[in-house]
Symmetry: C2
Subunit: 577 residues, 2 copies
Amino acid sequence: MNKMDTCLRRYDNNGLLLIRSNAKKQGYKFTNFMNKQLRIIPLGGLGEIGKNMTVLEYGRNQIIIDCGVMFPENDMYGIDLVLPNFDYVIENQDTLRGIVLTHGHMDHIGGLPYLLKRVKTTIYGTPLTLGMAERQLEEANVRQNAKLKTVKDKGSIQLGPIKIHFFPVAHSIPGSVGLVIDTPAGIVVHTGDYKLDETPAGGRTTDLKRLKHLTQKGVLALLADSTNADRPGRTPTEQVVADTLDELFAEADGRIIIATFSSVLARLQAIMDLAVKHGRKVALTGRSLQENVALARELGYMKVADKVLVDIKSRIPDDKLIILSTGSQGEPRSALNRMAKGEHRQINIHEGDTIIVSGGTIPGNEEDVGRMLNRLFERGANVVYGRLATVHVSGHGSREEMRIMLETVKPRYFIPVHGESRHQHLHARLAAETGFVADETFILQNGAVWASDGEKAQQTASVPAEDVYVDGRLVGEIGEAVMKDRQRLSQDGFIVVYVPVNGRSKLVGEPQIISRGFVHMQESSDLIDLARKELKRQLQRKGRKNDPKETVRHTLQNFFYRETQSRPVILSNIVRV
Amino acid sequence: MNKMDTCLRRYDNNGLLLIRSNAKKQGYKFTNFMNKQLRIIPLGGLGEIGKNMTVLEYGRNQIIIDCGVMFPENDMYGIDLVLPNFDYVIENQDTLRGIVLTHGHMDHIGGLPYLLKRVKTTIYGTPLTLGMAERQLEEANVRQNAKLKTVKDKGSIQLGPIKIHFFPVAHSIPGSVGLVIDTPAGIVVHTGDYKLDETPAGGRTTDLKRLKHLTQKGVLALLADSTNADRPGRTPTEQVVADTLDELFAEADGRIIIATFSSVLARLQAIMDLAVKHGRKVALTGRSLQENVALARELGYMKVADKVLVDIKSRIPDDKLIILSTGSQGEPRSALNRMAKGEHRQINIHEGDTIIVSGGTIPGNEEDVGRMLNRLFERGANVVYGRLATVHVSGHGSREEMRIMLETVKPRYFIPVHGESRHQHLHARLAAETGFVADETFILQNGAVWASDGEKAQQTASVPAEDVYVDGRLVGEIGEAVMKDRQRLSQDGFIVVYVPVNGRSKLVGEPQIISRGFVHMQESSDLIDLARKELKRQLQRKGRKNDPKETVRHTLQNFFYRETQSRPVILSNIVRV
């Protein structure tokens, strides 16, 4: 409510967008009426990794750039996915002109099935990006809500008064683009995810020439990828990885197993080429990998002869086989982790295997990855991972590349996007080094509204943008309160107490205690027994307040904290018998 | 039980140590009767980070080397600490000659309070190490169970037939030593934690000369630190950190806040010296930091003039102040994290502050550290962390240093210790490169018994060595079953159902459903209501099996999985009224 009050107060100053509607459950109604104003609203992707989504509006024309999901952090108990908050978009769906996708990674397209459940619109992207988006929509049975329109990576589209030109960028998936968005208020450049790799695996470099050409008349605002703003210099070229793999392939005299992200399709092509060079066949394990390779081949993004690919069950000699697998993050159910635990149906790791884990560890996954690596070593494999050789490089540019992008685009205003807030701050400082002064750079929180008339720019109001949690079929129903309960349950478990009482709330019979996740009921039966006796004594004590529920809570909380220093959740069930 | 059976089967072959005793709850009795046999048993520190502990026995003479704790991994729900299993030591305490400590870090001394609750013995170490151990023992009220005997870092002690010579090693805490253990069966070298730093912060280099001298007559076995076996080359010298800090101090024109491990006392000395050089005072925040500095000064390990240290509440101009703080791991209650959240009583982060996070991130802490960094940036501080400058280097040697150690000691047998199992495997491979053949290197699981008569060596039986969890006052009572419950509760919460029935188990009145950590009871009241109705219908259905408990479980499990795809823990409370 506080945030809303601020919005209302700011309404007069900025002539903007938020009007309270008592009729709505959320209490808000959003209306745009500044017709000649350009607004940029990040709804996700600022402050966290992933769920990248940006709203761009000019007058009553709304465009969405990307719609990603974030994978939960370790302390988001029981959460499957985190979505951007779609409320603002839904409220203003009558102005929505379409969704433009920069590339096919989940942190840019994974939110589409949830958004397309609630709005119908057209989605624009390169063929591979749209192919991957289409699969997401089909799986969620919402394909019919979207028109899909492919655009070439040097193509253009017109959405109302806004023209969007694509330009190719080098990233770890083919078909990645940046956007030059030509609005009546000026040009906005959105880099997408990019690196300035001159020898990328896909062969497609970032087209700075086209970008320069498209931005000749000057750029109002640049939204640029900040992911690696804490890495000095340039990100090594993907070619380094190919060279390392080439060496490792030459040394290996047994089976080669490579785990990588199923979406790093550019690298998968390089691996296929190396397989041919070293006279090996390639088998794929992991559903997402199989689907992505099939799609990329179908659309011509990946070139592999049929005879190179073999079924995982084929009998190929170890020294003629490469197995491509998912699981570079140690995900519990991934193919590589099942191999590590000896639970994979087809593949039994043994001495002589060379296992290459070709993926950077996403923060939060270190323990899972470490455990998996340990197990693979224990099975006798020769395991190669990031610390031992350059088997992975980032798909995002580092500080030098960011500097070149700033100097190529020379925007009037700079809005660092993607990455966590420390990366955006570091990106902003880099901009300061290249000459930007304080009010030319905007670090926007999710939901913050940046507005410009084409000359001046300012951060104005905010729209709702808190995380939306997906837990199974529940979308947005699990909030902080439930999460706190789960956190407490995960630490100390719970106790349920059954207390039979008569009409005057006096104990009749024995109280019963059941616990889960607190102590082991059998092994700690003495403790539970002592607690029961103490509770009975307290419930029968003369002169106690006549509220058995309160007595239960108070008695057991004190008893268990004294005995165990734990604070299990205590639920009492006072039953009149 | 399986493990035990293996032990018993192996008993005849190896003439070793484990006899089942039916009288004991654990079912085992351990007896050593091979008087002329040397045995080495790692009880912790193999397969995981931390809780380093090794038992060395010759005949009826048992020596313990280090006794550490491990901090729990993210999926060890509610666990405070993890201890080595002390059962074997306790069983054989009549043969215990003492505990020898290599240095004062928690992963080498933190288990002492728990072990000294159960045995009385003498602890040997250098003055700082013993000072830190003593504080642990005092806090746990078990100081009286230990005799503490200080040994110089080039000193020697005699424990029964075993003579132990200390040699100084460079590590991130002063007073660190390695051990040359002279037994009647031969010499065993234990490196402790070491690096071959030629310009370490404490000034004390690893004394390879003394090590060489002490091992002239040949070494039977080397136990060497494997922590950095996946890092090629040499670990950079601590002097690099001092140089970086020197530069950062020169650039800073406001307050400097440095977060580091409170136990990296060697680096703390360097910081104090730099403070003097740059004309700044130093204030300490964080209890462990204050205690460690006080102890190190008292024992002469740290030299700081009184006037350099000031109270955190003193009014010192920002550009004359350095604040030393705990919290390099983003620990929720640490001083730096409280500053990041704006909850520190004395320190309010503001623009102009330079914050240096001078500690490597321990795997599993990445998300906490990342969040803390974000918050510090958001408060306007200039934050410097590992990716941006060399403000931390490891205290452990890398592969080149390991190679030098192997070549200096030239042991007959090699047992890689410390680090996780992948590090031990990589260390073993390094040994293979220097000429060790297969049966000269032993990668021992915790509890594995390595035995030698001074000539031959083999891995024989095993002793119990599973993790012992500490949860509040409960030591060893929380096992896998409780942990699994907690894991499930953390994902989906629980539901308690109260079902009033009559004597024939027929429902009388309304069933009640309470949930915690599943869905929000108020916000999802529709769902709960539907579940209640469905349950009532099922309980009243004619012809159903007459077990209301089973009906509750079955009905609600199906209902909630269908509606939410979650599987909360379901407890039913069938009450006869």
